[in-house]
């Protein structure tokens, strides 16, 4: 059924109205039905088209990409087809419909613009072909699976903080020894003395040789190990702003990876819940942030509890050397006291452990609203949550674990500051 058939039927109005009566109406209806049936057999079947989808480049969330659909006419008939290149709503596909007139053996391409609205592997949906003949009274259609995946990487919004954080790290670099000297710094190079340098950092022996004042410079230690553990269990699936807590955790992991690998440290990222979901390493990687993004793309939180024993053994297996282990998880009383605290000693025996968690901004708002009685009770419940997480932080500090808790937007920066602080004080 097409618009042309409707037009034909409307055209039938003329004879029907000129010669009113059942006979004329039946004759006109018969003519239309015969035309439709004949046309149905004239329509080339949609399966004569060979389809191919070429996914466009992988992009960060928020950036546009595309997918190319190629339709090849393998048959010896001329194909007049309408194509719907269907994508899930979150793909943000525009103009998914197109028309082709394909002579035998010809091919046509259509590029569908995509603006993905969600991180992850974006699977193309079915491609529907609607075919018609020259007459075009009847259209036949069929849908085909044409697999294609467009990868949408995490947005990495916090990369705008990267220059300032890197700058902070650089300030540590090349400073005269006194300012930062201590554990965790190593000799870097000698350079000419300039006004303002600490006189205590003058290398007298070198100055004597060079006939000029020379100072020693230092830089933070390099080639340290950082292991970031991102919890993808049910606690990470909590809604938070536009996304989930897991998205904020990924942001933090990405910023820390960018920062630490830029500073010459080796970063390993483990994403795990009841099983290990993804492992990525900056070792021998040209672009660690990109590689990590790709590795994390397909991971979404699942409704399982995290298996911290397995996570601990994975961390131990990842790095035999002393490492900074960052656990990005939730400060949930049950999981921390029952699951994390028991495995901490094995981790602390060899590594320095830091716990980063996303603070729920909703809690603070609820705790501040105190108008009616109901709101007071809600505020009390929210306050109790906040107190619990504070006491957990205290317990963790007692166990020798530093913790950072910040809102989703601030956590990446806060974790980066903690790293820089540790680096500066040589506790890495």
């Amino acid at each position: 059924m097409t618009t042309r058939l409707l037009l034909l039927a409307l055209l039938g109005l003329v004879p029907v109205m000129l010669v009113p009566g059942w006979t004329s109406a039946l004759i006109v209806a018969g003519v239309i039905v015969v035309a439709a049936v004949v046309d149905f057999f004239l329509v080339p079947p949609p399966r004569l088209v060979s389809l191919q989808r070429t996914p466009g480049p992988m992009v960060r969330l928020g950036a546009p990409t595309d997918a190319t659909l190629t339709a090849v006419n393998d048959s010896r008939r001329r194909l007049r087809i309408a194509v719907r290149d269907a994508w899930p709503p979150s793909a943000g596909a525009k103009d998914t419909r197109s028309h082709f007139d394909l002579p035998a053996g010809e091919a046509a391409q259509v590029v569908t613009q995509l603006l993905p609205a969600r991180r992850g592997a974006l699977h193309g949906d079915k491609v529907t072909i609607r075919s018609r003949s020259v007459l075009g009274f009847i259209a036949r259609q069929k849908s085909f699976d044409v697999p294609a995946i467009v990868r949408v990487l995490p947005p990495f919004i916090s990369r705008r903080e990267l220059p300032s954080k890197t700058q902070k790290l650089r300030e540590l670099d090349g400073r005269s020894a006194v300012m930062i000297r201590g554990m965790g710094t190593e000799f870097d190079s000698l350079r000419d003395y300039v006004d303002g340098d600490d006189v205590r950092s003058i290398d007298w022996r070198a100055s004597a040789r060079a006939q000029d004042l020379v100072v020693k410079t230092w830089r933070p230690e390099r080639d340290r190990r950082v292991v970031i553990v991102v919890d993808s269990s049910r606690l990470a699936a909590r809604r938070c702003g536009d996304g989930t807590i897991f998205d904020a955790a990924l942001e933090s992991a990405l910023l820390l990876t960018a920062l630490a690998s830029g500073a010459g440290d080796r970063v390993d990222v483990v994403v795990a819940d009841a099983r290990i979901r993804a492992i990525a390493s900056s070792h021998r990687s040209k672009d660690p942030v990109h590689d990590l993004s790709v590795a994390l793309t397909t991971v979404h939180p699942e409704l399982y509890d995290a298996d911290w024993e397995q996570i601990a053994s994975t961390v131990l297996a990842t790095s035999r050397q002393h490492a900074l282990v960052v656990l990005v998880t939730a400060l949930d009383e049950g999981s921390v006291s029952d699951e994390i605290l028991p495995v901490l000693p094995t981790l602390l025996a060899r590594h320095r452990v830091v716990l980063a968690s996303v603070e729920d901004p909703g809690l603070g708002e609820l705790a501040a609203k105190r108008e009616g009685t109901d709101e007071i009770f809600t505020a009390a419940a929210a306050e109790s949550e906040l107190l619990t997480s504070k006491s957990l932080q205290t317990r963790l500090r007692g166990a020798g674990v530093q913790s950072v808790e910040a809102s989703p937007e601030d956590l990446p920066g806060a974790l980066a500051d903690l790293y820089i602080n540790l680096k500066a004080t040589g506790r890495l």
């Binding site: 059924m1 389809l51 996914p55 419909r97 044409v146 697999p147 009685t373 906040l386 107190l387």
Partner: protein, 421 residues
């Protein structure tokens, strides 16, 4: 994954074949709907036909006032009975030789044209017309018979009538039950007209003043062999419907009388007049609309149907979105708050809020972890300049007994906390 990418770059089309069971499941709604419509239509048809067959004196009605027993008995005795509700069929059938036309009821539904049609058909073979208690409409069929209006209104006829005539069938049948109406010859002394079963009993006298002259032949059964004039048909009038009904035919001599009257010919046509379109008299608005307009309007119906089909056809199935798992975050907080509110745990709620406030204030006033809550309260009183007793009450001692107490204390708490800055 690599296999998927490989497949994606090479391009394939997999079959979109759907298993039969799935197709049946999705078509289930339509199948059920079709069956339901079918059942409704059948039920409606059955019910309507039942209703028609229940009509009084209907040849298919097995009810007490039906005449199925009579028709079937006549068939059993070798009379070819044609039953119909269709005027044309009845008229054609009554034109055959050796036929009697029986119109059991509803004679008032026939127009004069219909009656004339019957009369001309019957006249071709001198066929007989039988009427059952036609009332005044008998005059539409013949001008030789009329309703007897000469009987005194004070008359109380006997329940049983005797033949009292020369018709052999009536004499053989004997007595019959008396009905409500009596018929008489229209003009006194009409030739070839025999009457039977006249009203008898106390007070039955013919009085003058009506159409029928006193002394005319009268009775409940009239057998008129026709006057020999053009258009005159032989007519038999059976004056009491009870004689032919399923309930009454086995009483007295009814069966004998009726069956002998109706089985005189080889064929019997039973015509049951119904409301037909020919009786639609009042012209409706449609009659004033030109036919080409109606044809065009009706033609638009299939056009609209085609339009709906075009608009309703979806271009492929809906695209599927795989949604990630998301857990509402502050759900537990609301749950706990509702629990506390239901159990009126004001002390617990206030304690939590106090603890939170004290911890924040201690941090703001740079008091170390060793400071007890008394130290903090003293510090608050010093900073804000409030009465230490009031601060003590708000932050430590006051016990909220009602919700308004709690609300008041919490507002003070919040106020004091905001003052410390």
């Amino acid at each position: 994954m690599s296999a998927l990418i490989d497949v994606a770059t090479r391009g394939t089309h997999s079959s979109a074949a759907v298993p039969l069971t799935a197709r049946l499941r999705s078509a289930g709604v339509w199948i059920v709907a079709a069956v339901a419509i079918l059942i409704t239509v059948i039920a409606t048809m059955l019910m309507t036909s039942d209703r028609e067959a229940d009509a009084p004196l209907h040849y298919d009605s097995a009810a007490r006032d039906g005449t199925k027993a009579m028709v079937e008995t006549l068939r059993d005795h070798g009379v070819e009975v044609t039953t119909t509700e269709d005027f044309a069929t009845a008229r054609n059938a009554s034109g055959q030789p050796e036929t009697t036309l029986l119109i059991p009821t509803n004679t008032d539904m026939l127009s004069q044209g219909d009656v004339d049609g019957f009369r001309s058909e019957l006249a071709t073979h001198d066929n007989r017309l039988a009427l059952i208690d036609p009332g005044s409409t008998v005059q539409d069929f013949t001008d030789r018979i009329t309703v007897d209006d000469s009987i005194s209104p004070l008359a109380t006829p006997e329940k049983i009538s005797h033949p009292d005539c020369q018709v052999p069938a009536a004499q053989a049948a004997g007595t019959v039950e008396t009905g409500d109406t009596e018929y008489a010859e229209a003009r006194k002394g009409t030739e070839g007209l025999r009457t039977c079963y006249p009203f008898t009993g106390p007070g039955v006298t013919q009085i003058d003043g009506g159409e029928v002259t006193p002394g005319s032949a009268h009775g409940q059964l009239i057998v008129d062999d026709g006057g020999g004039g053009k258009g005159d048909v032989p007519v038999t009038v059976l004056g009491n419907p009870d004689w032919v009904t399923n309930a009454g035919i086995d009483e007295e001599g009814h069966a004998s009388l009726v069956l002998s009257q109706l089985s005189q010919t080889d064929h019997l046509v039973v015509y049951y007049p119904t409301e037909s379109a020919e009786f639609e008299s009042a012209p409706s608005t449609l009659d004033y609309v030109p036919s080409w307009f109606i044809a065009g309007a009706l033609w638009l119906v299939p056009c609209v149907f085609i339009l709906l089909l075009i608009l309703g056809r979806r271009f492929g199935p809906l695209a599927v979105e795989r949604l990630p798992v998301i857990v509402p975050a502050v759900e537990t907080v609301h749950g706990r708050a509702a629990l506390a509110a239901r159990s009126h745990d004001r002390t617990g709620a206030l304690h939590t809020l106090r603890t939170g406030a004290l911890l924040r204030i201690a941090k703001r006033l740079a008091l170390g972890p060793e400071a007890g809550h008394h130290d903090i309260i003293v510090a608050i009183a010093n900073t804000t300049g409030r009465d230490p007793a009031q601060v003590e009450a708000v932050f430590s001692s006051a016990v909220p007994r009602t919700d308004s107490d709690l609300s008041h204390t919490v507002h003070l708490l919040t106020l004091i906390e905001s003052e410390v800055s």
